[in-house]
Structure formats: C-alpha cells, structure tokens
C-alpha cells in the first residue's frame, strides 16, 4: 500500500475545488446522490446473489476479467466489481463506513487494516480459515501474513504483495568494482562513494524525501529500532538504534551521494538512464515500468537486489501489499468467502500477475515459469522472506508522514539528527495521546 501512495500520479488526482462549491450546487449534488441511491436500491438482480466487490486503482481495472470464470463455477453468485481510484480509496472507505454503505468485500491496503479493525468493520476471518480446505496460512510469506493478524485474530487474506528492494544500474556498479550488489551498509557506502568519485553518475542513489518515508523507516527497522514503545503508545525515535540509522541516512546527503533537491527528478527512468543516479529503492510496480521505459540499449543493464543490511544478511524491508477483507456488515459472507478463496488460488493469482504485474501472495504461484524466469522478480522473492510490518495502529500513516517531514529536514541539513528525532518523539507522542487514553480506558 505504502508503495502505491508514493507513485501518486497527477492524473488520478481529483480536483477538489472547495472555492467553487456553492450552496445550490451542493444541494443539487445531494439530491442527485439520494436519487442515485434510491434507483440503486430499486434495481433487481436476476435471482442470483449479488456480491459487491471494491477493487482499487489498476487492480480494479483488471480484476473484472477474472470474474466470468468465478461466476461460471458459482452460477448462483454475481459479482459486481466497483473500481475505486487509489488516491480516493481511503476516504471513500471511511465515508462508506460512516454512511453504512460498505461493500461486501474489498481490497484493502494492509497498512489500513488496523484502522478498520478499530471501527469493528472487519470480519474475523480466523474461523473461516479454520474451516477452509483451500487456504492455509503456511502458503503465504510469514511477514506478509502477519500484517493481517492483530491480537492473534485474522482480518484479511493477502491478495498481492509488495515490498522494497534495490533497483540499480548493474553496469555502473560493476565499473565501480561491484559486479555483485552491496550486501552491507559499509559496502553500500563504499560503492556509492566510488560511483560519485569516479564520476560514473552524478549521484549514487535517489532517496526522495519529498514524498517517501519508506527508506528511512526501513533503515531504522534494519538497525533494530522498534520505532514505538510500550505497546505502541509512545514514540521511540530518540533511541540509539534509530538515531544511528538516521546518521547514516544523513551521510548520503552530506557526502553528496544522494541529491537533496529531489523534485528536479521528475522521470526516474530517464534520470537513471542519463546517469543522474545509479541506485533507487522501490517496489514491484517498477519492474514493469523499468522494462517499458528504460531505453533498449540499457535493458540488460538494470537489476534488482534485496536491500543491504547493517551487518551482512539481507536487511529487512517493509511488508506491503493489499489484502482481501470481508466487512462485518455484509449479509453474503458465504459468497464472499468463496470469492476470496477463488482469488487466492495459485492459478488465479498467476493470471492476476499477468494482468497487473502484481506479485502473488501465494508462495506456490512463484514456482510457475512466468515468475521463475523473470530475473527481476527473484530479488523480491528473497526480500519477501525478510519483511516486517510497521506498527499496527490507525495512527501509523500520520506518524510516517511526520517522519518523512522531519527526515526531509535532516536531508536538507536544516536539523541535526538529535534535534529531529526529539521533535519527532514530541509530535508523535501527541498523536498517540488518544491511543494511550483508549488503552487505559480498556483496562
């Protein structure tokens, strides 16, 4: 999920022109909405049970093509796929909850699960899983599965997975003396310095602090920081682990290895082709983008690798992706579960991978040749076995955004690491005040 947020495209952004929304227009819109709802209720189905399925963005465009086969196998069920634009999805889901008009089943970014669990909107899937013949937790990546489990209760079934790996120019790294990608932070630094010193590229790596928090969070997690403490009720950014990680992060900028003014880089692919930088931390959607957008002569000169860690093993990365969730308000839970089981079948997952490029959540699907022969996907498979979830609390997105702002100040040299982490602790503790009260209230 977090990865998708980062590729916020202008085209998808709706214009919200509050300034021009006048009262008559507003009333008109309300009347229109109400009448649409009334018409919607009046529409008749053909005797089949209708399941409403919300799918987001690109997934929403493609998942409909998988439905005829499901409906053929289950003649009594009709699936109505409704596509929700990614950037509007979070607000739409919350508004739908407030207006008791949630669908039966939805795709949900796995970082949103804690929020909807707090609302009691999500069905407990543990009993459903226990009765299922088709699904087992062992057929999923453990770190990804874990993002769907809160207080040992299962709320979602992973649909596709997402994590961050290192994308790099293999020719430039080889020229800098690294035919194999860096495995440790010190190797990572070494190759970065060589790239810049030998003028193989203008910068070594792109760390876009203007819209990304993932690399900073990953570095903190890799260095053993817990980010939050005491049952996620207090911030823990002033801890030595996190400060050390941010010192390393800052070094990339102070040594000129990463560009500070990242808005200059609008087209990442063009910039990597033009040797503006040689490394970039990104997610699976970029396999397709790099294949399409890198010039033909560079097609065999970019690769992916698991992230370097502080000490030498594969460093951890974020457990991202989307899950399928069932809403407690649904009256068609049997049918919904059938749909979830169907979408989780390895063959269907593979078909979905071919349609969208989304990496399958089912480990069995990865044995297929289409994924095995994709040399850029291999790093993801390795990395997916080393993923951890961020704090499973509704405030996480807000915390992550604040972290991004503060680390942007660090990258620009406008704040020291000590001051920045203290400020981050202060503001995050404020965000968590209500949560602390809730935890005490529950006792």
């Amino acid at each position: 999920m977090n990865c998708k947020d980062a590729k916020t495209s202008l085209g998808a952004q709706r214009e919200i022109s509050l300034r021009r929304l006048r009262l008559p227009t507003f009333i008109g819109l309300c009347v229109l909405c109400v009448s649409t709802i009334l018409v919607g209720c009046g529409s008749k189905t053909d005797g089949r049970t209708e399941v409403v399925f919300w799918a987001l963005g690109a997934e929403g465009e493609h998942v409909a093509t998988l439905m005829p086969e499901f409906e053929r196998r289950n003649p009594t069920i009709r699936v109505r796929v409704q596509m929700i634009p990614f950037n509007a999805a979070h607000e739409k889901l919350l508004t739908a909850f407030a207006g008791t008009s949630l669908p039966d089943v939805s795709q949900l970014g796995n970082t949103w699960i804690p929020e909807f669990r707090i609302l009691d909107a999500l069905e407990n899937l543990s009993p459903w899983l226990a009765q299922s013949h088709a699904l087992r937790d062992s057929s999923y990546f453990a770190g990804i599965w874990d993002t769907n489990v809160i207080d040992s209760t299962l709320y979602g079934i992973p649909w596709y997975v997402d994590t961050r790996v290192l994308f790099y120019r293999s020719d430039l790294l080889a020229q800098a003396g690294y035919p194999q990608p860096p495995r440790t932070w010190s190797e990572w630094f070494d190759v970065s310095r060589k790239i810049v010193q030998q003028k193989l590229a203008e910068y070594a790596i792109l760390l876009p602090t203007n819209n990304e928090w993932a690399p900073q969070v990953i570095m903190g997690l890799q260095n053993g920081s817990s980010l939050l403490r005491e049952g996620d009720t207090y911030a823990n950014f002033s801890s030595r682990e996190f400060r050390d990680a941010m010192t390393v992060f800052q070094q990339f900028f102070t040594e000129g290895l990463a560009p500070v003014k990242t808005t200059q880089i609008v087209n990442v692919y063009q910039a990597m082709a033009d040797r503006i930088f040689a490394m970039y931390i990104s997610g699976p959607w970029n396999i397709g983008e790099f294949s399409r957008r890198m010039p033909p002569e560079l097609q065999d000169k970019w690769m992916t690798a698991p992230l370097p860690g502080p000490h030498g093993d594969i460093g951890v990365s974020l457990a991202g992706g989307s899950s399928l969730v069932m809403f407690t308000s649904s009256k068609k839970k049997q049918e919904v579960w059938k749909l979830i089981e169907y979408l989780s079948e390895p063959t269907v997952q593979l078909e979905f991978y071919r349609l969208t490029g989304d990496l399958p959540a089912r480990v069995e699907a990865w044995k297929d040749s289409s994924l095995k022969n994709n040399k850029h996907a291999a790093a993801f498979f390795q990395q997916l076995n080393h993923v951890v979830s961020t704090a499973k609390i509704p405030e996480w997105e807000q915390i992550a955004q604040r972290l991004r702002q503060v680390t942007e100040l660090i990258s620009m040299g406008r704040m020291t690491v000590d001051d920045a982490t203290k400020e981050l602790d202060r503001s995050v503790d404020l965000m968590l005040a209500k949560r602390r009260w809730m935890v005490e209230h529950a006792r």
């Binding site: 022109s17 609302l119 997105e397 209500k434 949560r435």
Partner: protein
C-alpha cells in the same frame, strides 16, 4: 396569520428546509464537533468522543504548523490578491481599448484558464516549472538567471503557486472589470478630452474612481477566494516543500479527511470562518467610509 404571510411561508418552506438540513444543521454539528476530540476511534464508537472544551483551539494556537499555514495563506492573499486584481484590470483596459481588434477571441482566450480543469492546468504548469527542461527557466536563462527549482525550493514554491493562480483566475475578474468599464459613460471621457485632459489624467480621474465599486466587489470576492486557497497547492505540491505551500484549508483537509481528526479540523474551519468574517467586515466598513466621504 395573514394569508400573504402563509403564502410566503409555503413558498419559502422548500428552500428553507433544504438550507436548514444541508447548511445550518451541518454547521451547528461542526461547531459542536470542534469542542470534542472526535477522531477515527470515535467514528467506530461514539463512546470514544470526549468533550474537550477549547482544547482543539488551544492546541491549534500552539501548533507551529497552524501559524505556518496562516503565514502562507496571508502571503498568498497579500501578494497574489493585488497582483491578480492589477493583472485583471490591465487586461480589461487592454481589451476595452479601441486599438484592439478581435476582442471576442482575446476575451475567450483570457477567460479559458478560468474554466479549464485545475488538474490539467497543473500538469502543464509542472512542465513549465521544471528546473531542467521547463520553458520558464529556459526563458530566464537568456537574461542570465540561473535555473530555479520552482516547486522544490521552499522560497520559490509559493511565488510559483501565486503565478499559476493569478494566470488561472485573472480572466474571471477581467470580465467583471470589462462590465464595469462599459458602465462608464462615454461622455465623461469626451468632456475631459475637450477640457484638455491627457490619457493618464483620464485614467486616474475618471476610470479609477468610476471603477471603485467594481474594484471593491472584486477585492472582497478575491479575498474570500484566496483565503480559501486549497486546490492549487493540493495538486501542485501537496503543501510541500517543507510546508512552504501549506494553506489553512489544506491543513483542515489533511487533519479532517486524511487523519480523520474531525474535532481539530472543525476548529480550523471556524478559525478560518472568523478570519474571513473579520476581513469582510473591515472591507465593507472601508467601503461605507469611502462612499460617505
């Protein structure tokens, strides 16, 4: 009840009901919510909303981000507002001049940005502002200006937003100015030129005073509109870099619909309401003084 009163009530009832249900009730609810800590937890269960009195407002005063947003909004208002009015007036005068041909076409061209979707405009302007390949920096390079990172530099981001907003909005005010100009009797100019007044004297002694009511109207709606700055930074910069383009409404939107801190967000809304109210009262008093003098 007199028959005429009853008829009035019956005819007004539908409109009043609609305004009551969709305007007054939500506004009242928002006032109540601004005194609570209504958030994502409360959305799930009303039990978790607490009355906190003025805490949201006090927190707001202590929040440096609020002051930053306020500063940014005023920056936009006091630089962008006058600039927008000046450009509109200049364009209107130009289009009223007898020298210009094809007035209809120019009027349409200048008005086109007003009715163009902001998102489409923003995409184009992002290209214009691009530090390496943008046409603006290319043009500036001829006069020896080193490339400016328009949307990435905290100092330049707001001027960039202002420039775009002025370009997008001046056509609307221009049309109103043209209407104002057409209302000035031609005889005044004829009399003045017989008396030997030059073009500049005619402009300062006839055009400007005669346009005063129009200008006041435009300055009030521009002020109200500009204080509600939202869509431009939302689409172009998302409030960045380093919150340099974060406006009050953007702060309200982020708190309310992104983080679901409805109580806090409602407090921001009422601060903005108070601001606009005070500014409007100030301007209309100015107007009354102006008229009596």
């Amino acid at each position: 009840m007199r028959a005429s009163t009853r008829a009035a009530v019956i005819f007004l009832a539908p409109a009043l009901t609609a305004i009551g249900a969709f305007f007054f009730v939500p506004v009242m609810a928002a006032i109540v919510i601004s005194f609570t800590d209504f958030d994502i937890y409360s959305l799930g269960n009303w039990k978790y909303a607490r009355f906190v009195g003025l805490k949201n407002y006090l927190d707001l005063i202590e929040n440096p981000l609020f002051w930053k947003a306020l500063r940014n909004t005023f920056y936009f208002l006091f630089v962008g507002g006058p600039l927008s009015i000046a450009v509109s007036l200049a364009a209107a005068l130009l289009l009223q001049s007898k020298l210009v041909r094809l007035k209809g076409i120019f009027r349409t061209v200048y008005f086109a940005p007003v009715v163009t979707t902001l998102v489409a405009v923003a995409v184009i302007w992002r290209f214009v502002y691009h530090p390496r390949f943008g046409v603006l920096n290319y043009g500036l390079s001829f006069v020896g200006v080193t490339p400016i990172d328009w949307l990435g530099d905290p100092e330049w981001a707001m001027p960039a937003i202002i420039l775009m907003a002025v370009w997008k909005n001046f056509g609307y005010n221009m049309i109103i100015f043209i209407a104002g100009l057409q209302n000035i009797p031609q005889e005044l100019y004829e009399a003045a030129s017989i008396d030997g007044a030059g073009k500049w004297q005619q402009f300062t002694s006839i055009t400007l005073p005669m346009l005063a009511p129009t200008t006041l109207f435009i300055s009030i709606i521009t002020m109200i509109g500009y204080l509600q700055l939202f869509a431009e930074p939302y689409v172009m910069t998302q409030g960045g870099p380093l919150d340099a383009t974060l406006s009050i409404v953007l702060l309200m939107y982020e708190q309310g619909f992104r983080w679901w801190n409805m109580g806090y967000s409602a407090a921001v809304a009422f601060v903005l309401f108070a601001l606009i109210l005070v500014a409007s009262i100030f301007q209309s008093t100015l107007n009354r003084r102006f008229k009596t003098s």
